[in-house]
Symmetry: none
Subunit: 197 residues, 4 copies
C-alpha cells in the first residue's frame, strides 16, 4: 500500500465517525457508512469483520492515544495540578479537533460497554487508574489531602470533564474557542482546589 494511494480503511473509519455521530451507532446502517465514505458496500467487510468492529477500532485507536497522553502528562510535569491540567487540556483539545469522534466515544461506547467485550472496560479503567495514581502520589507528597480516595477523585475529575463535553455535544450551537480554552482551567480550578490540602 503506497502512501499516495487513498487509504480506504482510514476513509471508512473517518466516515463511520461522522455517521455514528450523526445517526447513532444502532440507528445507522453499514451502507450509510459506505455511502459516506464513497466506497462500495462490500468493501467495508473487506476491512472490518463487523459493524461492531468499526466502533471498537475507533474506540481503541482513540483510547490508546488518550492513555499515552495521560502517561505523558504525568511524566512531563511535576506538580499534580499541572499534570491534571495537561490531561484536561488534552481531552478538551481532542474535542476541539474532532467533536464527532468524542461524541461517538462518549455516547456510543458507553452504551455499548454492556455488549462489548471486557477489553474496553479494562481500557477505560486503565485511564482512571492512571489518574488515580497521580492523585495518590500527590496525597503521599502531602499536596492533596487524604480524605478523598484516589479512585474517587479520578472518577470525579474525569466525570466533570466528560459532562462538560456532553454539554457541548448536545448543544446545537457551535462552542466558541475561548469557551473551550477557558474550560480547561475551570475544570482544574474546580476539582483540584477541592482536592488540594
Amino acid at each position: 500500500m503506497t502512501t499516495a494511494a487513498v487509504d480506504k480503511r482510514r476513509l471508512i473509519l473517518d466516515a463511520a465517525v461522522r455517521v455514528f455521530a450523526r445517526q447513532g451507532f444502532h440507528t445507522c446502517r453499514v451502507s450509510d457508512i459506505a455511502d459516506e465514505a464513497g466506497v462500495a458496500y462490500g468493501l467495508v467487510y473487506h476491512y472490518f469483520t463487523s459493524k461492531d468492529e468499526i466502533l471498537s477500532t475507533l474506540f481503541l485507536e482513540r483510547w490508546d492515544v488518550m492513555l499515552a497522553a495521560i502517561a505523558e502528562a504525568d511524566a512531563a510535569y511535576g506538580e499534580p495540578r499541572e499534570k491534571l491540567q495537561a490531561i484536561a487540556a488534552f481531552i478538551v483539545d481532542s474535542y476541539r479537533h474532532d467533536p464527532n469522534l468524542m461524541k461517538v466515544i462518549i455516547v456510543e461506547v458507553t452504551r455499548a460497554a454492556n455488549t462489548f467485550g471486557r477489553t474496553h472496560l479494562a481500557k477505560i479503567r486503565d485511564a482512571y487508574a492512571q489518574i488515580a495514581k497521580i492523585v495518590a502520589r500527590a496525597q503521599a507528597d502531602g499536596v492533596f489531602r487524604d480524605e478523598i480516595t484516589p479512585e474517587f477523585a479520578a472518577l470525579a475529575f474525569y466525570g466533570s470533564i466528560e459532562q462538560v463535553l456532553s454539554g457541548w455535544i448536545f448543544d446545537s450551537r457551535r462552542v466558541a474557542d475561548e469557551e473551550l480554552e477557558r474550560s480547561k482551567s475551570l475544570i482544574v480550578e474546580t476539582i483540584c482546589r477541592g482536592l488540594e490540602a
Copy 2:
C-alpha cells in the same frame, strides 16, 4: 381497577428496567420485556405504543422525581453546601434503591439524549439549570467564588456524581452500603470545596 389487582402496566415497566439494564435498550427485544414481565407479547403494545415509549416513560417518571428532589433540596436547606449535599444524597440513594433504573437512565437516556426527542434534553437541562441557580445564588451571597460560572459548576457537579455511579454500574461486584454512604459526602467535599470562596 382496584389496587389489589395487579397493575400490568407497572409490571411491564418494572420488567423493562431489568431487561434494559441487563441487555441494553437496543439489544433487547420487546418479547424479552414481555417474558420478563410474564405477560403476553401483545399486552406491551396495549399499554405502550412502542419500545421507545417504554424507555421514555421510565425516564420521564424518574426525572420528574429528580427535579422535584432538587427543588426540595433547594427549599429545605439554607447553606449551598447542604443543598448540594442533599441532591447528591438523593441521586446516590436512587441508585441504592434501584441500580437498574439508574443504569438505564444514565446509560440509555442521559448519554444518548440526541437520539431521543427534544423533550428529554430539555428535562435534563432543567436539572442542570436548577443546580446552576443554586450555585449562582451562593455566589451572589459570597459563599461561592465567582471564577467558575454556575452552569459550568452544575455540569461538573452532576458529572462527578454520574461518573461515580457509572463506576458502580459497570463494576461487576456489588457496591457496599458504606461506600455508597461515604460517596455522598466525598462528592460534596470535592466539588463544593472547589467552589467555595
Copy 3:
C-alpha cells in the same frame, strides 16, 4: 328484544358500512367498527363470529334485496326494456340511498370473492342468470336479436351500470340527483338499443 331498545347488531352493521367504505375492509380494524358504532370492542364478537362475517352479512343482506328487486322487475313489467329499466333504476336508487353500502359491495366484495366461499359467487351469478333469462325471453319473443348471447348481454348490462357507479364512487364531488336520474335511462338507452332487434 324490544323495538324501543337500540338494535346493537344493526348499529354495528351500519357502522361497518361506513368504516369499510372509508378505510377499506382490509385496512380497517375491528375496533374501528366498534368505535364507529359506539359499542365495546368485544360486543362485535357477540354478534358476529369474525370480521369476514360482517362483510359477508352486509353483502348477503343487500344482494338478497337485489335479487328480489330483479325478480319483481321481471314480474311487474311486460316489455324487456321496461324490465331492464326497472333493474337499472333499482341499482341507481340503491346508490342514491346508501352510496357507502354500494361502494362496499362493489369494491370490497369483488376483492374478497377470491377468499369468500363459493356462496357469494353463486349469489352473484344468480343475478346475472336472472337478467340473462329476461334477455333470452326477449330474444325468443323476437324483441331482442339473437346475435348476442343472453349471458353476455347480462354481463354487459350489469357491467355498464357498475362502472358508472364506480365512476361516482371514486369521484370526490357529490353527484347531483339529476345526474343519477338521467343515468337510469342512459344505461338502458345504450344497452337495450344495442340489444334490440
Copy 4:
C-alpha cells in the same frame, strides 16, 4: 447486466402476478412472492420498497401499455366502431395473453382505486377520457348520436368489457379461445349499436 443474465426484478414481478391472482393482494405474504419467484425474501425488498410498490409497478407497467394501445387504435382506424373494436380486442387479447395479470389489475387495482394513490386513479381516468374523446368525435361527425354523453359512453363501454372479463376471471373453467374471439365483436356489437345514430 446482460440480457442473458436472469433479471431477478422481472422474476419477482412475474411471480407477484401469479401470487396476487391466486391469493389476492391482501391475503398473500411477501414471502409467498419470494418463494414463487425462487429468490430470497430480502431480494424483494432490494428491488421494491414495499409490497404496495410491486402492485403499483405491475399496474403502471400494464396501464401504460393500455393507454398506448388506445391511442394507437384511435390513430390507426377511421371509423369509431373500428377504433372501439380495436380497443376491445386489445383488452381481450391482454386477458388471453396473461389472465392473471388482468385479474390483478381489475380486481386489486381498478376496483380498489381509492385505497391506492391518486396517481392510479388519474391514470385510469386517462383511459376513460381517451375513449370518451373517440365517442365525442364520432358524435361531432354525426356517426354516433348525441343523447348519450361521451363520458357515460366510455364508462359503459369499458364497464361492459371489464365485467365480461370478470366473468371469465371468476369462472373456474378455462375459457375457450373462440369465446374470447367472439366476445370482441359482441361487445362492440352491443355497445356501438346502442351508440350509433
